[in-house]
């Protein structure tokens, strides 16, 4: 992982992006933050079933290093940290929207998260703009 991807700085835009979120989890983390407004380690860990704690820690660190998220102490709960998407991270909204539309078209076994799909289909600009501005619950 990290910038060790041979193509990370090959100048190819796709390779650059993959060096940042080209793995199984990073985009899911971004999705949870952007769409669901999740912003602490434990919420991310328990939010969906699957990711293991060491991998989450590793990914968050990488996302922080590559400028997708920031990490600060929660001013209202000094033992907790708050993760937030940067502008760079929120600007992934259109990428996420296109992926959602593509999956909506081809994943016939779709049963959950149709809410998000419908939202994107209905008013994609509003979906993207709300994430871009950080208007999450």
């Amino acid at each position: 992982m990290k910038a060790k991807n041979a193509n990370y700085n090959s100048g190819c835009p796709i390779a650059y992006a993959l060096g940042i979120f080209g793995d199984q989890w990073s985009l899911l983390i971004v999705r949870d933050m952007a769409v669901k407004g999740v912003n602490t380690y434990s919420e991310l860990l328990n939010g969906w079933e699957g990711i293991s704690t060491n991998i989450l820690a590793q990914r968050l660190k990488h996302l922080e290093e590559t400028g997708i998220v920031t990490k600060k102490r929660d001013p209202e709960n000094w033992r907790s940290f708050v993760y937030e998407l940067t502008q760079k991270g929120r600007d992934l909204a259109p990428v996420i929207a296109e992926i959602v539309l593509w999956s909506g078209k081809y994943n016939t076994a779709d049963h959950a998260m149709t809410g998000t799909l419908d939202k994107v289909r209905m008013d994609r600009k509003q979906f993207e703009d709300s994430i871009r501005k950080g208007d999450v619950p």
Copy 2:
């Protein structure tokens, strides 16, 4: 890897997509096919420096199994195979376009492939449509 991703069939559209191309190479393969019109194993292997032969074989197989590419014998050269994007694969064009735009905005160390970036910026619809129709050199 394959559909063993815990979230592949969780119903989340992002997870579905990541189960198909959520790795370091798959989207680069799609890019080479969609943008550059590359369609044989050896071209893919030598096209950019980096991917190793076993990984390429594995990825192509997975992309075939998940309906992104097809594999047929080249009718004009029977020892060669031709890989082609399916409609499902070509429909990744908007995803690729958004990734290119995002990287174009944030990868300051960009030096190569600006041609593709410019093309997408200039006339994105045309970029997407030409891929969707399979109009590649």
